[in-house]
């Protein structure tokens, strides 16, 4: 009987633990996404234009890495932009270059975050 009782207890414990793991995973995913968004903090250091194009210096002063997902110039996608860093680490600078030199509003998207620069 003791063996039967221990088997039932063990089985139920496994089911309960699995349940805890599932709930914990959902909570972790949600909180990690929130933390990721909250930790992406970018600021504009400088923006310059010359004959070779426009340059924007960004600084990541947050605590999570970020990645430039899209760049828009005056509401339209800028197809010819390049970045000096595919991933912007916390505490590091990144330069975004556009071949277009015309003035306008540049919007740089980092996932759900954005930064607007007037060139």
């Amino acid at each position: 009987m003791l063996m039967v009782t221990m088997s039932i207890l063990g089985g139920l414990s496994l089911v309960s633990l699995q349940s805890i793991r599932s709930a914990s995973s959902i909570l972790t995913q949600g909180s990690q996404a929130q933390a990721q968004d909250a930790g992406m903090l970018f600021t504009l250091v400088s923006a310059r234009s010359n004959a070779s194009g426009a340059y924007v210096w960004l600084f990541n002063y947050g605590w999570t890495t970020g990645r430039i997902t899209e760049v828009y110039l005056n509401g339209g996608m800028a197809g010819d932009w390049t970045s000096s860093c595919p991933i912007i680490n916390p505490g590091s600078l990144c330069v975004v270059h556009l071949s277009q030199t015309t003035g306008g509003n540049l919007t740089i998207l980092f996932g759900s975050k954005s930064l607007v620069v007037s060139l």
Binding site: M1, I8, V15, S16, N74, G75, T107, S112, K113
Partner: protein, 202 residues
């Protein structure tokens, strides 16, 4: 006799332990069971403001299960009643794909890659770019026409849809570019199986 009494006592004790175990396990399991959404759709919305002019909001919706966007309503103006447009007095329906002082936004739908040509006396935006012509892939390509009194939309083999949608319309990810004016606005997105209400502002 003593052996039989001991066996009965052990049986009763075991039964008591089992019943206590079942009761406690039921209480714990019922409290800690994983959240389940069942057949309901769960939406995760992300909005990003894109400076213009015109100022745009990129609305990205992730849905828990593949679904289809059926209708879009912005500030109680429904795309089911006509092409959506943003003017000085806010959102409205436009009977034509363009209008003076309006930013109209809709999409073209193609079942095969095609050439999209937009002719107007205003500004034209297609698939994210300020352009008046280009190749479009299979699916939905969003179009905006800014401040044009006359226009024509040509996409061989395609149709115009009043839903301002990019990509595919049976998916878990949806992207909508919406022109936006000052103040807070509300978009009501009707999907098969649920709806999503999103507040956005410039």
């Amino acid at each position: 006799m003593i052996t039989r009494r001991a066996a009965v006592a052990e049986l009763y004790a075991t039964l008591v332990v089992i019943s206590i175990t079942f009761s406690m396990s039921y209480v714990i399991y019922s409290e800690l069971s994983a959240p389940r959404t069942g057949d309901r759709l769960v939406f995760l919305n992300r909005t990003s403001v894109i400076e213009g002019p015109p100022e745009l909001v990129l609305l990205q919706v992730n849905v828990s299960k593949p679904t289809t966007l059926v209708s879009v309503q912005i500030d109680n103006i429904s795309a089911s009643s006509g092409i959506l447009a943003l003017g000085l007095n806010g959102y409205a329906n436009s009977p034509t794909p363009c209008g003076s002082g309006l930013v109209t936004f809709f999409s073209v739908r193609t079942s095969a890659p095609a050439q999209l040509n937009l002719r107007s006396n205003g500004e034209t935006w297609m698939g994210g770019y300020w352009s008046n012509a280009g190749a479009v892939g299979v699916g939905w390509t969003e179009v905006m026409i800014n401040n044009a009194s006359s226009c024509s939309v040509s996409v061989p083999g395609g149709t115009i849809s009043t839903l301002p949608l990019s990509g595919t319309n049976e998916s878990t990810n949806f992207r909508l570019f919406l022109p936006v004016a000052s103040g807070t606005h509300y978009a009501l997105l009707m999907f098969t199986g649920g709806f999503d209400k999103v507040a956005f502002s410039a």
